[in-house]
């Protein structure tokens, strides 16, 4: 995810206006103006004046998310404070065929919250209450605008924390995490958002409010929640999330290990995973990424390192000691020349600061850069890193590598200067070639940033038409009108057709305010 201070400077080759390939996905101003006006009236009736934005200057502040080179000004922004308000707006959208896009904190890196020019942007930042921290249940119930790190802050006093930790965790929202199935450094051991969200109240694209999952596991019926998490806002908007809280570990050890090359660091990573030790995190940075981090946050990483690993071990003290011994031995066997163990929380924080600020730090050594996100089988790490180095040297485009080595989730940062003619295109080409490398090695085009608008065109490289068509059957079940974040994830929308028994609008009783649709 983006840098911790929200100063993401990522810029693709096309600045200012929306890239041409994106316009079909983002709508035209004035499409269905009557419908838009009707939705605006409903929104104003439901919410106070401050919750509905239609002033063009204010609207522009919502024109992009963390992937700033795609920009579209929405027709209307709403900031609901309750499920009823949010569902009312969505229901009006459904009734009038107006597309809507949900947005949490706007830190996403694939343009998943890129607005529609002909649509409503539903911002969840005013739904920010931590409803419950239920220690006895090891669960918390959250509104979607709650900031990721605030969940851990609220649970720490009870001896618990929320495990998924995207680098943007100081500002990103739980609703956005849910939509994107966000990961983070510690998902190697603890899993992703989808493993930690166990229930959600969902406003469907038709404006119905449904409960999926909850405090107890294994709810009977289809696991719709499992499909909604990671669907990038195309199946509805979560208005609460019930999440798992994880016991704070008895002991944590954070190590910084210097290697001469990424080959050595990659081999050490494979050896650690192969030994049966499951660290909480194994992160790798190469020389260029280390240089950037040093320039930005003076993290004091080992001099002359071609790569560093940040390894964190946690759990019962008796196990962590053994794991530490194994990791130390394996690092030495694979050519580490320096191994530092953080002796206190301050040192641990400094080690992590270098890693978590790496994306933003690259801005110190390059005016522009593309953050790539791809996955490979972890055993292919050395081979793929060499291929990326070859790509870089043959094209003259610098690539800094920062990634979740334990998961095989790469985040190459492709550096360029948009002031130089052709530099953006060259960087884009290298960035695309890296994704091709991931695909040919049996990997995935995104491990945690999502497909969004940015990678929809790559989906056919990973999936057949039949695969994509089958996924969109789910879309048609949830959103027959195709109004929930259209243009994201899928390169071509599926025409849903009419299915007998399907109703287009909310139940008449619900519309009349006589019943809730739980």
């Amino acid at each position: 995810m983006s840098g911790t201070h929200g100063t993401q400077t990522s810029a693709g080759p096309v600045l200012g206006d929306t890239p041409p390939e994106a316009t079909a996905a983002t709508g035209e101003v004035g499409d269905n103006a009557a419908g838009m006006a009707a939705v605006g009236r409903v929104a104003r009736a439901l919410m106070p004046d401050t919750g509905v934005i239609s002033d063009p200057t204010q609207l522009r502040t919502y024109e992009c998310d963390g992937l700033a080179h795609y920009r579209v000004t929405p027709a209307l922004v709403v900031l609901p404070e309750t499920t009823e308000q949010l569902a009312g707006v969505v229901r009006a959208c459904a009734e009038h065929g107006v597309p809507f896009v949900a947005r949490g904190s706007g830190t996403g890196l694939s343009g998943g919250a890129l607005p529609r020019a002909d649509g409503v942007l539903v911002v969840t930042s005013r739904m920010r209450t931590i409803r419950e921290v239920r220690r006895a249940d090891q669960r918390a119930v959250l509104e979607p605008g709650v900031i990721n790190l605030d969940v851990t802050r609220a649970a720490t006093g009870e001896g618990y924390y929320y495990a998924p930790d995207p680098s943007s965790q100081q500002i990103c929202s739980i609703g956005g995490n849910l939509a994107e199935n966000s990961g983070g450094a510690h998902c190697l051991k603890y899993g992703f958002t989808s493993n930690h969200v166990l229930g959600a109240e969902l406003v469907t694209p038709q404006g119905d409010v449904v409960q999926l999952g909850g405090l107890a596991p294994d709810a009977p019926g289809y696991d719709l929640l499992g499909t909604v998490v990671g669907s990038e806002g195309t199946l509805g908007i979560a208005t609460t999330a019930t999440v798992r809280l994880v016991r704070l570990p008895e002991e944590v050890r954070t190590l910084l290990v210097g290697f001469r090359s990424t080959d050595d660091a990659g081999a050490a990573t494979s050896a650690i995973i192969g030994s049966g030790v499951l660290p909480a995190a194994i992160e790798m940075m190469d020389a260029l990424a280390i240089e950037a981090a040093e320039a930005a946050v003076h993290c004091n990483y080992p001099d002359g390192a071609g790569a560093v690993l940040v390894i964190e071990l946690d759990g019962p003290a008796a196990e962590v000691q053994h794991e530490y011994d194994v990791v130390e031995r394996l690092c030495q066997e694979h050519g580490s020349f320096e191994l530092r163990l953080a002796i206190d929380a301050t040192e641990r924080a400094l080690i992590w600061k270098g890693r978590k600020s790496a994306f933003a730090a690259v801005g110190r050594i390059s005016p522009d850069y593309i953050v790539q996100d791809g996955v490979i089988p972890r055993t292919a790490l050395p081979e793929v890193l060499r291929a990326i180095a070859d790509l870089s040297s043959s094209s003259g485009v610098r690539v800094a590598n920062v990634f979740h080595a334990g998961d095989g989730n790469l985040h190459p940062l492709v550096l360029f200067d948009d002031g130089k003619p052709g530099a953006g295109e060259a960087a884009e080409k290298v960035s695309g070639a890296i994704l091709d490398l991931c695909i040919t090695h049996g990997g995935a085009i995104t491990g945690e940033h999502g497909v969004g608008v940015d990678k929809a065109a790559y989906m056919p490289k990973m999936f057949t038409d039949d695969d994509l068509d089958t996924m969109q059957l789910v879309r048609c079940a949830f959103d027959p009108g195709g109004i929930a974040n259209p243009g994201k994830v899928f390169p071509t929308p599926r025409l849903c057709g009419e299915v007998p028994g399907k109703r287009k609008h909310a139940h008449p009783l619900v519309e009349a305010g006589l019943a809730d649709a739980f």
Partner: protein, 422 residues
């Protein structure tokens, strides 16, 4: 099927798949006689069979190894049993990447044997002996290990499906981290074969622990059991499992599994013995019945099998409600399950009066739902099934119906087995 001749269907199926036979009495699905059985050997053959079945309007019930066909409601019809047992190969075990790729009919035990040779395991407990991985996915079975590693939804990385219309689709992939596209794997887990046929699957693996130890402690009341469970889940010993068993004779046991390094497990066992207090004992081997469904303790004696879930804080009232309801109805009841995860299984004798069973189901379900959970009647004789609500109330049922309509608009895959008559 009523308008199409069986001969024409058999001919079409036989050209799609080399192994098509007439069904026998053993092929009946939960008492519903089947007419034909097809055993495809590949995904392509499975697709051709489903296409042929679609062309002849046949209903299709997928079958892995047939160990859980009696779960859920009986299907309305079972024209064709799609038997996956010939698709039983472990396609790939990439030990360095900790993944395994296997065909749907592969025995879970065979997968474990393959990956076990590299010191790894698929962390899906075999709660029903003889199960295939496709069957385990379709019914979402789990066991004690779910406390830490989760269930099938936490382990499945990629899946190949064949839709009712014969279209083959893949979702997910072969890497542990992947957010490209919808996670159709989660959608088919626990779908009882009503959405699509699973033909192969990729799972993440875990290292086998070098050492493990079981600690058990008796309890007398529901409150005691819940307090012991709370002690363990909030402790720093990181148990791999926290199980609760309450037998017919009133003997209750909380069981804890610790896994890790020999030295670590020894230290954690000592800590656990101290936390659990008087009567706690450690052993190298699992206590009897560990991880088994209570109604399968004696395979010759059919029983009613229930699955109960609740929020962890609801464990005491749910245990209590189930015991009291059974006592009031005069029906012997055994409870066993993953108390630390809020999941319990209950067994009632099949010869118990139908009214009594229905009363136990209703009262226990009330307690489960009051604590955020549910009660499902997984297995029961026909008379009981006719008298109880098998699946209970299902929130979002309308949305589920719409998913079914999209995937299988003609309702030909296991019609009627699943929630709300899906």
């Amino acid at each position: 099927m009523t308008t199409v001749s069986l001969d024409a269907a058999r001919t079409a199926l036989s050209s799609a798949c080399g192994d098509v036979t007439d069904a026998g009495p053993a092929d009946a699905v939960d008492g519903v006689p089947a007419r034909l059985v097809a055993r495809p050997g590949t995904t392509a053959e499975t697709a051709a069979v489903l296409q042929a079945a679609a062309g002849h309007g046949l209903t299709v019930v997928p079958r892995g190894r047939g160990t859980k066909l009696s779960w859920g409601r009986p299907p309305e019809r079972a024209d064709l049993v799609l038997d996956m047992s010939r698709m039983s190969a472990v396609l790939d075990h990439a030990a360095g990447d900790l993944i395994v790729h296997a065909q749907a009919g592969t025995l879970l035990a065979d997968v474990q044997q393959t990956v076990g040779s590299a010191g790894q395991r698929l962390s899906l407990d075999e709660s029903v002996p003889g199960t295939s991985i496709g069957g385990a996915l379709a019914t979402n079975t789990s066991g004690p290990g779910r406390l830490v590693v989760g269930t099938a939804r936490d382990l499945l990385l990629g899946v190949t499906l064949v839709r009712a219309d014969g279209v083959v689709a893949k979702a997910g992939g072969r890497v542990v981290k992947n957010v490209a596209g919808y996670d159709l794997g989660k959608l088919v887990i626990g779908s009882f074969g009503t959405l699509a046929v699973i033909t192969d699957a990729v799972f993440r693996l875990h290292p086998l622990p070098a050492a493990q130890r079981f600690v058990t402690v008796p309890f007398g009341t529901a409150e005691d059991a819940a307090a012991l469970v709370q002690t363990m889940v909030h402790s720093q010993v990181v148990p791999a499992a926290v199980e609760v068993e309450w037998r017919v004779d009133g003997a209750g046991t909380v069981g804890v599994l610790l896994g890790g390094t020999p030295a670590g497990v020894e230290a954690r066992t000592a800590a656990t013995l101290e936390l659990l207090g008087t009567g706690a004992e450690a052993a190298e081997t699992p206590p009897p019945g560990w991880g088994a469904l209570p109604w399968r303790d004696d395979a010759d004696l059919p029983e009613v099998g229930l699955k109960l879930t609740c929020a962890l804080s609801g464990l005491a009232p749910v245990l209590d409600a189930a015991r009291r309801a059974a006592a009031d109805a005069g029906v012997p009841l055994t409870l066993r399950g993953s108390g630390g995860s809020g999941v319990l299984y209950a067994a009632l004798a099949a010869d118990a009066p139908v009214d009594a069973v229905a009363a136990v189901v209703e009262r226990t379900r009330t307690a489960c739902t009051a604590h955020g959970g549910s009660l499902v009647v997984l297995e029961a004789p026909a008379a009981v099934q006719a008298a109880v609500d098998t699946w209970g109330p299902v929130p979002a049922i309308d949305l589920m119906r719409r998913v079914k309509e999209q995937f299988d608009p003609e309702r030909r895959l296991a019609p009627g087995r699943f929630v709300g008559g899906i």
